[in-house]
Subunit: 474 residues, 2 copies
């Protein structure tokens, strides 16, 4: 298996499907200013945070309503032209690249909060609403939306990639938190999947089929998610360890004991250095766990004491507490900026991100072997992890002008994924497959499961117009 | 919409597909003693806990391995003969009835616990393992499996119907707790869906597509679920209220405040009477909440104090505590036996169960109007509810010999479902659709979503051999 070669060929093997002038004309007539073929606009919509490149889409449609989406889908279907949904472009896996050409549907103007049902702990939003916007909108209700992938992604994009992030260890991922969707299918029909009830056994779980389908089965135009009461008490702590192993073994024990920790994030010493430099902080440059505890004041105290005990058994230093909201925001902003801090540490570089997730007992093995391999390669990298879920990210910082660096990084990635799969894990905990992990997915899922996915795709999108060339090739 | 007429016609409109003698011969040759055409065996496998009747399957195959399932699927596919998976027959909605004839695949002999991964909080079992068997098997690890639908159902059946029950308010449903499945598809291929990692964004969520598909997309031959550390402290309490409304309004407040209660179950006064008579108990014959609190000793105390405060604001009586495991078992056994207690209260009767689930703020409205309607009808009934989830069950106790009683009960059910849907809820919180709720599902999901479900079914099971005539008709 040579992932590098396969991945490269996948990207190069793009069949640019033409957008017929007749369709362009109809789009211009129907959408006027909402429709753009300006190169700058197209180029902005033809890339994401990944290190991949493809020609930009032929045009960009700024959708403002479900009806707009229906209309563009029907037109595109008539001409068998690919459609690529776009939120704010924070994908790390090439999800929004126009690998087969076509039209980008930018939903960022569909950013209304449609219904806050505080008494039911639910909210319904348009897909262009970002997670920060959502939390601002519900702040006055005493509720919050916990899913936090770091980037200020849209709810549509987070649903499409089954995103999660730092709070997932306690609150679950988009899989657990999306209650219902409105979706425009490949034929231009509008479906409602799910209701606002907390649970249901009513037929096939179309909500969960759409969550994580990366725009390949339909375009999401409304998202209903669960909200949670803001905890009475929140405390965050930083704890440094003599080694990554000590930090990881502490985490494993925290999870195995069922301590309901809300966040437990690993940053390795080198990444702490990058974060310090970027954010002008003075975090101890050792492997750190960044933790957060939610609950009643007593509950938070109790959790923290248990975790401190576990950590000190692994020779940690004392906890440093961030108790005020400002201190906490500073801490999590630093964590979220690890990616940008790292990229800035090597001017002109691109990050190739990994996203393996393994059963918690295998985390130390998987992580430590991968660290040794990355160190031996000489490629600079950052390392952060939602370790409570068994999920971590290397970001190999390559010079895109040096093909050998990309080759080495992809080899490291390949080796890491193979290790994670051997240990019962997955190639992607939260980023999705996009164009980058298609070969990994085949290895992970196996032929019969891939065949089932392809059968579903062919049945629901017979003209292959919904974000074609992502997740798998047909 | 006349559900009664439609439901009846659905059941009567059964097209009994023939099982050709050539297939019967091949099954006998391949499976010998595992294959039975004895009438008593067939009749036992042709009914469940629902009030519906259909001719029994033509034969029963006692599968003992995934390979057995593969072989029977391939043979049945060749002859286009329906296959109906069967665990222990606790369905309430006619899931296992052979409405189109065919062969029943009894998986109860596939009851091995395959792998307890205590350090990862996961366990993998064959589909015939029941929830009690599973909890016995993992007891020594200090872990437990929380999903508890009352009946000692199999993990295969619970997965197929997306079951939940009393603990779902805290631990989620099968939707949240199944990590991975092994499934035999309609073509006789074996798929693995998911891994043991806690989260994944690797392709379409085939696990969740199978969970709740009621045997119509494939036959589950292995189930991997999450386990949880047994709480350090558990306390259970009974609290009686002056009215159902007071009990329900207390529950709503508990949920809205985010108190992590593990169980909060409603039983109405009349059902308490039935339970007392059946289980020789002396519970106060008033609307009750049965509650359970999980956590640290301090956490449990804190939760209980908060809940007591809320309840007393709604003029409850004092909590009665069940603190020893024996007392708790007695309490929950009484709750689980409500169904049998009720059925025994009217000799010869059958229960027609409802299963609506609504957003929590609508629970009082939905429940109280439905109680008034049921009282006015004169049909005896029981009423229990997983009220923390907004889910409750009426069981109308009809004399099956009196068609007017069935008609009245179905009218009540219909009116209740219409109300729940109006309030943003679902026709089935946990029982599934089976043959009983097919019309309700159409109303709830709407035509485009139904069309998507049918398209998936047709693509994955082109010969319609997987439990045909359930969830929807093609």
């Amino acid at each position: 298996m040579n992932t590098l070669a396969q991945t490269t060929s996948t990207i190069l093997d793009i069949r640019q499907r033409q957008v017929p002038p007749a369709l362009m004309d109809r789009m211009k007539t129907r959408f006027s200013d909402q429709f753009s073929t300006a190169l700058a606009i197209r180029e902005h919509h033809g890339r994401d945070e990944s290190s991949f490149a493809a020609p930009p889409p032929a045009a960009v449609l700024f959708a403002e309503s479900t009806q707009d989406v229906i209309d563009v889908v029907r037109m595109a279907s008539e001409f068998s032209v690919p459609l690529i949904p776009f939120g704010v472009g924070t994908s790390l896996e090439g999800h929004v690249l126009a690998v087969q050409g076509g039209i980008c549907i930018d939903v960022s103007r569909m950013n209304r909060v449609l219904a806050i049902n505080a008494e039911d702990l639910t909210v319904t939003v348009e897909p262009g609403v970002t997670r920060k916007q959502l939390n601002d909108a519900v702040k006055s209700t005493g509720l919050f939306f916990p899913i936090d992938p770091g980037a200020d992604a849209t709810l549509g994009g987070m649903s499409a990639t089954r995103a999660s992030g730092t709070n997932a260890v306690r609150y679950g991922t988009m899989r657990e938190n999306v209650l219902a969707l409105k979706v425009v299918s490949a034929s231009g029909d509008v479906l409602s999947t799910g209701t606002r009830a907390r649970k249901s056994s009513a037929g096939y779980d179309l909500t969960r089929l759409m969550v994580g389908s990366e725009g390949t089965l339909g375009i999401i135009t409304e998202v209903t998610v669960r909200l949670y009461p803001l905890p009475e008490a929140i405390s965050a702590a930083i704890c440094s360890f003599p080694s990554i192993e000590a930090a990881v073994r502490s985490t494993i024990q925290i999870i195995q004991l069922g301590i309901p920790i809300a966040r437990v994030e690993l940053i390795d010493a080198n990444t702490v250095r990058m974060v310090n430099a970027h954010a002008k902080l003075s975090l101890r440059e050792e492997p750190l766990l960044l933790m957060e505890f939610h609950g009643s004041p007593t509950g938070v105290k109790e959790q923290a004491e248990l975790v401190q005990e576990i950590a000190s058994e692994h020779r940690s230093n004392a906890f440093e507490w961030a108790t005020t909201p400002e201190e906490r925001t500073r801490l999590w902003t630093a964590r979220h900026n690890a990616y940008f801090s790292a990229v800035q540490s090597r001017p002109g570089c691109r990050a190739i991100s990994t996203d393996t997730c393994v059963p918690i007992s295998r985390l130390a093995d998987c992580l430590l072997e991968s660290v040794a391999e990355a160190d031996a390669s000489g490629i600079p990298y950052f390392l952060v992890g939602h370790v409570g879920d068994g999920n971590f990210h290397f970001g190999y910082l390559i010079d895109p002008a040096i093909p050998e660096e990309r080759a080495s990084a992809e080899e490291l990635n390949h080796s890491l994924v193979a290790r994670a799969l051997r240990l019962g894990g997955t190639c992607t905990g939260e980023h999705g497959v996009g164009i980058h992990k298609m070969d990994f997915l085949v290895t992970e899922a196996g032929t019969p499961a891939m065949e089932m996915m392809r059968t579903i795709k062919r049945a629901l999108d017979p003209k292959n117009i919904m974000n074609p060339g992502k997740v798998f090739t047909l």
